[in-house]
Amino acid sequence: MTGMRHLLGITGLDRPAIECYLDDAAAFWEVLGRDIPKVPALRGRTVVTLFLEDSTRTRLSFETAARRLSADTMSFQARGSSVAKGESLLDTVRTIEALGVDALVVRHPAAGAPHRIAGWVDAAVVNGGDGRHEHPTQALLDCFTLRRHLGTGLDGCRIGIIGDVAHSRVARSGVRAFSALGAEVTLIAPPTLLPERVETWPARVTHDLDAELAELDVAYVLRVQRERDAARRLPPLHEYYARYGLTEARAARMKPHAVVMHPGPMIRGLEVATTVADGPRSLVRDQVRAGVAVRMAVLFRLLGSPAGGDDA
């Protein structure tokens, strides 16, 4: 990988670039298992999380990753900040950069915001989720979780992404990453929850979960994003659960070794039954720990070498 200054999306990453992140993440996964799960690799560097949209787990995961690498962290949130007082994004970013920052992790409700910010600053920019666009570290951690679980690559693995695809940056990044690694992806959603131009995605599309269940190696359940549903495209919730909820009965019909994943936060009883989310098929907890390892790999690769450094 050369000239990698920012991580703005899975788009633009080819298979070797993705695998490079996953290989490094494996090394950091090992670090997380040590008596002292901390390395000095980014000592003296500063990572700022700039989250202009509510998030707890992603921000905590990035900050944990930065601290495990011995970087200093600062956190900037929209609520109670200068943004709430009307400051422009450009001014906010310039102010933060003036504090002396090596990496900015950006979450923003508008698609493309991290790309804009990357054009304004010298710091490395990591997209922590922008609108409905991309969430690259989520896709990488999902790939890492699956690769670890399968013990092999994802080639030929059948992944069903179930639910609110339209609003989902997780799905957008995930489909690209999974398919780049050779998985066969199927989007399973009601017509109203599919995005426009979905036919251009590297995935098959179906509306019938029950017909697909027995074929899947992975059921990747998306969160139903009621807060983004301005257009009221969601069916009534009980109806949604009846057709697209991953119930115990449905989980029982999956292949013996098939697994269930969810990016969180989960809405139990709407997307997935509690017994399934906590059951033996669930990789949800693995995903959380993988998130720290993968984000360590990303920060390490963007900050751990001279600017614009190549691999020796």
Binding site: A27, I36, R301, D311
Partner: protein, 211 residues
């Protein structure tokens, strides 16, 4: 750049520009084998046996050398010494000065607390890798003692670090390059250790005193 050595040593591009030329053979396969076995004997002698010893190789070539030392100890002492791998990239203090290497695996075969850990590497130079290894080791536990075994000590230390077991002390110039190539790690037909020098710095070397 780890590639196969040309059969007829030719000047080749150096990492910082300029060219490197073959200067001298430090070890051939037989000499390297004997040095490895001697180091194995010294480790056992120093520690009055090998029961508490753990060999920990530093990538890229340390793990393979550690395996060879362990095999030697097994053959003459009948003791199976655990062998591990410790990637120290994340613990280096010169990360900002050099390109990031892909991270290697770290696998310690046993709890290092209370054991004698022998760090194994191919070449001892500035000592910074060993310092990083000592730091890294500390995140796993507290060994009773840490010792250091290297195939070649080429001098130019930047830290107060020395080796306990040395295959060969080799005076070098700082700009020279000690190249270790092992069958298992470098895909060469025979193990070899060579000294290469920038051809524009020391023109005498360009004369090509072949092996």
């Amino acid at each position: 750049m780890a590639g196969s050595r040309p059969t007829e040593p030719q000047p080749e591009a150096a990492p910082g520009g300029g060219r490197f030329a073959f200067r001298a053979r430090v070890f051939d396969a037989d000499a390297l084998r004997r040095a490895t076995i001697r180091i194995a004997h010294e480790i056992v002698e120093r520690n009055r046996g090998a029961t508490d010893v753990v060999l920990v190789g530093l990538p890229r070539r340390g793990p393979e050398i550690a395996r060879r030392i362990a095999a030697a100890i097994r053959s003459f002492e009948g003791v199976e010494v655990p062998v591990g791998t410790l990637d120290v990239t994340m613990h280096r203090d010169d990360l900002a000065l050099r390109p990031v290497r892909p991270l290697g695996p770290t696998r310690l075969p046993t709890d290092v607390g209370g054991r004698v850990v022998v760090l194994v590497d191919d070449v001892l130079f500035t000592g910074r890798t060993v310092r990083a290894a000592l730091d890294a080791l500390g995140t796993f536990g507290r060994p009773r003692a840490v010792q250091l075994a290297v195939l070649v000590d080429r001098g130019h230390r930047e830290l107060p670090i020395r080796a306990d077991f040395v295959g060969k002390n080799l005076p070098t110039k700082r700009v020279e390059d000690v190249r270790v190539r092992l069958t298992d790690t470098d895909g060469v037909a025979e193990d070899v250790v060579e000294l290469w020098a920038p051809s524009d710095v020391d023109t005498a070397a360009a004369g090509g005193a072949g092996p």
